[in-house]
């Protein structure tokens, strides 16, 4: 049965059967063997690139026109996680034959760009045939500066691991570089409060006021290249090349935008309150508490102005509720209570929320008096949020000041606030329960202290 002749007979029948079952309407022509160079020439003609032939193979290089994209590198370097002012930056975005970073997915277009002063110099590399990968990757490696940083969008999760896979598939070691700045997590942290999703196209419209017309959809791209491989027609790729060029430019603009809006403290007053709140958390994550506080103060000033886009809240749990855990970023630890973690995500940044955030931060840096004052300021707003703030005042007085009487006073005020809420039809049962327990415990504690005395 393992004899090759028999197998081919079975294959022939299998084929006939398969054909009958699917009734394909096209006749199966044997594909003519196309020379890689011929394919490269077609691409080069279609996208205005040049064919580069090396002893390792052939690829297409397209040097785009320089674009003016200003950036203040010193301002950028002042932000957490950012490269030092003198570090060369290389923007990188790949187009691939599929999702995932497994071994059968090919990168066929790599868009790169580097800065020369305020001008962005784009270079795109194209793979004319799968057989030419070695030359193609060698060209990529040549363009990555060993002392430079890559700048990508989701490149840590996708573009770079995929390229590493491609290099390891027998094309030499992946190029060395000094760092990797992935803008996706930063965008999520800073701007998610005013965006519906974090796709690069959304970033462009929301932040950079760029609108792409007639762009190719991301889902279409793998199919475009596979079609090109099948029929050799380069028109499949023209839109993809354009799409990639815009992506790379947008990456640079995005970085410039971040540096300009948030890197320069003098301009914080013009920034969106929510962006500043996100930045505050980013600072906080890097233990730069003073910067974080400064950021929040600026945000509070900014929130006095009308926001360009009113924040909308999608969270099921109101952000000010004690159930809503503050998000300082990083990996979520085990919840310290039964409250659902991460409930505050996606809530808008109102002034009151900023106040709460600030009060929490003050507590965190042990500025107890300031924290108490901040919570009292929130309490003045009244409503369930005010009650929640009074619970915080009670906690601080009890645990940080050991002022049980004062804690009880705050808790009683909180209960009064909640009673008013209930009578006006805004009952907050879990707060009532919390405050009830607290008052009970504080009374027992006071009694014990009195008994001991």
């Amino acid at each position: 049965m393992t004899d090759a002749l028999l197998l081919s007979r079975r294959l022939e029948r299998h084929r006939a059967w398969q054909r009958r079952a699917q009734q394909p309407d096209e006749d199966d022509r044997a594909p003519d063997p196309r020379r890689a160079t011929a394919l490269a020439v077609r691409i080069a003609d279609a996208v205005d690139g040049e064919v580069v032939a090396t002893d390792q193979g052939t690829y297409v290089r397209r040097d785009g026109a320089a674009v003016a994209v200003p950036i203040d590198r010193d301002a950028l370097a002042g932000l957490p996680d950012q490269p030092a002012a003198g570090t060369p930056l290389l923007f990188l975005d790949t187009e691939t034959t599929g999702l995932g970073t497994a071994t059968g997915t090919y990168a066929f277009l790599i868009g790169l760009a580097r800065w020369e002063d305020d001008r962005l110099i784009p270079i795109q590399l194209l793979l004319p045939d799968q057989s030419e990968e070695r030359a193609f990757l060698a060209a990529v490696a040549d363009l990555v500066p060993a002392d430079g940083w890559l700048v990508t969008y989701n490149g840590r999760g996708f573009d770079w691991p995929l390229l590493v896979t491609r290099f390891r598939m027998g094309h030499g070691p992946p190029p060395v570089h000094a760092g990797h700045l992935d803008l996706l997590p930063i965008v999520r942290r800073l701007f998610r409060h005013r965006m519906t999703d974090a796709r690069l196209a959304t970033v462009e419209t929301e932040l950079l006021s760029v609108h792409r017309g007639g762009d190719v959809g991301g889902w279409e791209i793998p199919g475009r290249y596979l079609s090109f491989l099948r029929d050799g027609s380069p028109h499949h790729l023209v839109d993809v090349v354009r799409h990639n060029a815009i992506d790379v430019t947008s990456l640079a603009r995005l970085l410039g935008h971040i540096a300009a809006r948030l890197g320069d403290r003098d301009r914080w007053t013009d920034a969106e309150a929510g962006d500043l709140a996100g930045l505050s958390r980013l600072f906080r994550r890097h233990h730069r508490d003073d910067d974080a506080l400064a950021c929040l103060e600026a945000a509070l000033v900014a929130s006095g102005r009308p926001s360009r886009r009113p924040a909308t809240s999608h969270a099921s749990e109101a952000w000010w509720s004690p159930r809503a855990r503050p998000d300082y970023g990083g990996r979520p630890g085990p919840p310290r209570s039964a409250w659902p973690p991460g409930a505050a995500f996606d809530a808008g940044w109102s002034e009151a929320r900023l106040l709460v955030e600030r009060a929490r931060l003050l507590r965190r840096v042990d500025r107890i008096d300031d924290a108490l004052a901040a919570w009292e300021a929130v309490a003045a707003v009244g409503g369930p949020m005010g009650a929640a703030a009074l619970i915080e005042v009670a906690k601080l007085r009890e645990h940080a000041r050991h002022d049980y009487r004062g804690a009880l006073e705050a808790a009683l005020r909180g209960r009064a606030t909640l009673d008013r809420c209930r009578s006006t039809g805004r009952p907050a049962a879990h707060l009532e329960r919390d405050i009830g327990h607290r008052i009970g415990r504080l009374r027992r504690r006071l009694a014990a202290v009195r008994g001991a005395a």
């Binding site: 049965m1 393992t2 004899d3 090759a4 028999l6 197998l7 081919s8 007979r9 079975r10 294959l11 029948r13 299998h14 084929r15 059967w17 079952a21 199966d28 594909p31 063997p33 196309r34 020379r35 890689a36 394919l39 034959t97 599929g98 999702l99 995932g100 970073t101 497994a102 071994t103 059968g104 090919y106 045939d129 799968q130 057989s131 030419e132 590493v164 896979t165 390891r168 598939m169 027998g170 793998p222 199919g223 596979l226 491989l229 099948r230």
Partner: protein
């Protein structure tokens, strides 16, 4: 006759054999004498730390087979080790791997187990050995349960990676660049429970190994392959089929064993006319109870979860009535929590647990020590499995007892009345066909995804070009300018290929019982027609599920868990057309042929049958489209029987003989009878003679039909023997199948036909 006092195993056995109601059912009683072990000292080259570690765990020397295996691996040979239950097979591969790692910590080893649970057991045992030797070795399971952060650590630094074929197929091979440390330094591959890699699963796994070895070659490693198998007829051949390389066979068991009694027992006939027999489950309990009362550690094997629960309930009930050690009898099967299972295993090892009722979950390499008595309620489906279950009883110094209780099924009846089949013959051969076209093409896609193919590369049976050209027509692969074949699709082929079935298209089975529905498994379309049609009872790891809805267009079956006393059997109306002949020979009374066939199957109704008795308790309609199956088949034509038969008689004879042949074929080839479909044609439009076809129910076949073709004489002889020795008068479900027409003597007709085909067994039996 109730004795609660502890008594030796022999004494209890003698007492039971003196009881006429029990003794009457004993068809065969054989005593296997005690055997001394053969021993060898640790090899000179063994690292002192490892030897010290072994001594520290009470191991002063090795069994003969262990020493032989270890020497062979050390010398760089591929080895297949055949070991009965509990004979210390772990050391056979653990010691060479430990030695390799003691010499060079950058070395890597890959252990493959068919299931996650076995892998986890072995990792624990291996870790214990390395700890005893004072070596710091990172050995980890890498399976679906491994958390993501640990995964990347294992990829980089795991020295011993323990996984299963499914994981290798879908998570490791397609991501091989992330595993380059493993592939570059891979020294040893261990394939344990080799005998489970048969049929479709084996055919797939063989191709996964082909892909694995192809990548090893790419990374410049040439690992030694160590296979461990339970006793089967062709371990060397199976290992060679699976790995594509010849292996040195180590099969002289050096472990000592005590005297062992093996009894084959048949339940009494209840109804002489129909030949109906009593339940195997009841009889198994009657034999088990006295041993438990006497304090002998006893294991009872049931064939399904339901059987296990029935016997467990019965045994506990009986023990409670007479204040016996009820709580020391436990159940063990799939569905119990891992911690619960571990506790039971520990209890068996230290003697705290007296009896256990288990499915074949305890047949595989789980360490429970050695027990006194093993009772099999029903033939487990293969000689190999029978010996594995029998092997659970076997004290080194004491007498042990194994009892096989037959059920009324034809396969059981055949086995029980042919003791030589179980006791004297070599066990069945495990078959797999790695070159099954469907399977091969599926893995060729995965292999191309993993690495492009050079033209003329040999993968499996031959050069890949023609097959790749075929895949190229569908656009999944393409030949680039350099002539190499590249993957050219957006899809991830490994996720489209399940190792447990052959067809490319599957029906996914979704369990809606829990709050969050999850995928229970999948079946190929052809099997789906009969297994998961709406209102079917689907059995998965011995758990019953009711199919609430089969969405044929979406290829999804929605099931909920149930616990009821019946199962379903769907009637398949099958037409068959031969396509090609691979082999043909003239035999007595006709011809034997094997070749390729097209089977068209239409399923229109199903029956509900009671467990145990197979009594029909209802039926229902099935509305599904007709399906075509291209597969391989074995058939025999009765050219010489043209004259002398009435057409209706010939019809009954063909069907009856066919059923008997099907049962014998299932026994000989160690497969489920359902893996072989039966079609009989009085006047075949294709053969011009009465014909019996046995076709493989897996698309493309896995090589069963070729073996049947080769063993034609045994099939005919065995079928005649099965029918002739059956206690019924005129045919019954145990031999020629259910009697459809009461006035026809199916038994006599089938025998007459089989004699015409050259059988000699049935000659002396007068047609009743």
């Amino acid at each position: 006759m109730r004795t609660y006092a502890p008594a030796p195993t022999v004494a209890v056995l003698e007492r039971l054999l003196a009881e006429p109601s029990l003794a009457r059912g004993v068809v065969h009683h054989q005593v296997i004498p005690a055997r001394d072990g053969t021993f060898a000292s640790f090899p000179d080259w063994l690292d002192d730390r490892i030897a010290e570690g072994l001594r520290g765990r009470g191991i002063e020397r090795l069994y003969g087979h262990q020493a032989e295996a270890i020497e062979a691996v050390h010398a760089g040979d591929d080895v297949v080790i055949v070991t009965p239950t509990a004979s210390g097979k772990t050391l056979c591969y653990a010691l060479p791997v430990l030695q390799e790692l003691a010499e060079d910590p950058s070395a890597r080893a890959l252990f493959l187990f068919p299931t996650k649970a076995l892998g986890q057991d072995q990792v624990a045992e291996f870790a214990m050995l390395s700890k005893a030797a004072g070596l710091t070795i990172s050995s980890n399971t890498y399976d679906g349960d491994t958390p993501a952060p640990i995964r990347s650590a294992i990829r980089k630094a795991g020295q011993v990676v323990v996984t299963n074929p499914d994981m290798l197929h879908s998570a490791i091979l397609p991501h091989h660049t992330k595993w380059f440390q493993l592939f570059e330094q891979l020294r040893v591959i261990v394939i344990d429970e080799l005998h489970t890699y048969r049929g479709v699963f084996g055919s797939h796994v063989a191709n996964v190994i082909r892909r694995l070895l192809r990548l090893c070659e790419h990374y410049g490693s040439r690992p030694i392959i160590v296979c461990c198998s339970a006793t089967i007829g062709n371990p060397g051949e199976l290992a060679a089929m699976l790995t594509g390389r010849p292996a040195r066979l180590v099969d002289r068991n050096g472990a000592p064993s005590g005297e062992r009694h093996v009894l084959l027992v048949d339940p009494p006939i209840i109804d002489q006319a129909t030949g109906a027999r009593g339940s195997a489950l009841t009889l198994a309990q009657r034999w088990a109870l006295p041993f438990m009362r006497a304090g002998r550690q006893t294991i009872v094997f049931g064939r399904s979860r339901v059987a296990v629960e029935i016997m467990l309930t019965g045994l506990r009930e009986s023990l409670r009535q007479d204040a016996g050690p009820r709580s020391r009898v436990r159940g063990y099967r799939g569905g119990y929590l891992p911690t619960e299972r571990r506790a039971i295993e520990r209890g068996l090892r230290d003697g705290e647990i007296l009896g256990v009722v288990s499915t074949n979950a305890l047949e595989l390499g789980v360490d429970i020590g050695r027990l006194d008595v093993s009772i099999l309620a029903g033939y487990p489906g293969s000689v190999a499995a029978t010996w594995q279950q029998i092997g659970r009883a076997g004290r080194r110094a004491n007498v042990s007892v194994a009892i096989v209780v037959a059920s009324p099924a034809p396969v059981d009846q055949y086995v029980i009345h042919h003791p030589e089949f179980l006791l004297d013959r070599t066990p069945e051969e495990a078959r797999a066909d790695p070159d099954n076209l469907h399977v091969l093409l599926a893995h060729l896609r995965c292999a191309t995804f993993e690495m492009p193919f050079d033209p003329g590369t040999v993968f499996g049976p031959g050069p890949v070009d023609e097959l790749l050209a075929f895949l190229g027509e569908a656009g999944q692969v393409r030949q680039a300018s350099d002539g190499r074949w590249y993957w050219s699709s957006e899809n991830f082929p490994a996720s489209e290929v399940s190792l447990r079935s052959a067809a490319p298209e599957n029906v996914v089975i979704i369990d809606t019982t829990p709050d969050r529905p999850h995928v229970l498994g999948e079946v190929d379309l052809f099997s789906a027609q009969v297994l998961v049609h709406t209102n079917a009872i689907y059995l998965h790891e011995s758990v019953q599920y009711h199919v609430d809805r089969l969405d044929w267009d979406e290829r999804k079956a929605y099931v909920t868990r149930v616990d009821i006393d019946h199962y379903t059997y769907a009637n398949r109306a099958v037409t068959l057309k031969p396509l090609d002949v691979f082999g043909e020979a003239v035999v007595a009374g006709g011809r034997r042929v094997h070749g390729e066939v097209m089977v068209a199957s239409l399923v229109t109704l199903f029956k509900k049958l009671k467990f145990g008795t197979d009594e029909n308790v209802g039926w229902g309609p099935i509305h599904l489209p007709e399906l075509e199956l291209q597969t391989t088949a074995y058939w025999l034509t009765a050219d010489g029987l043209a004259g002398g038969w009435r057409r209706d008689e010939l019809d009954v004879a063909l069907l009856g003989a066919g059923r008997a042949i099907q049962a014998v074929a299932a026994v000989l080839l160690m497969v489920d009878p359902r893996d072989l479909g039966l079609v009989s044609q009085v006047r075949s439009p294709h053969q011009d003679a009465p014909t019996i076809y046995l076709y493989e129910s897996m698309p493309g076949g896995v090589g069963l039909s070729e073996r049947l073709w080769q063993r034609h004489d045994e099939l005919v002889e065995g079928a005649a023997g099965l029918v002739a020795s059956c206690a019924c008068e005129a045919g019954c479900p145990a031999c020629t199948g259910p009697r459809l027409e009461p006035d026809v003597n199916a038994k006599a007709l089938a025998l007459r036909l089989l004699r015409g085909l050259g059988a000699t067994t049935g000659v002396s039996v007068p047609a009743a």
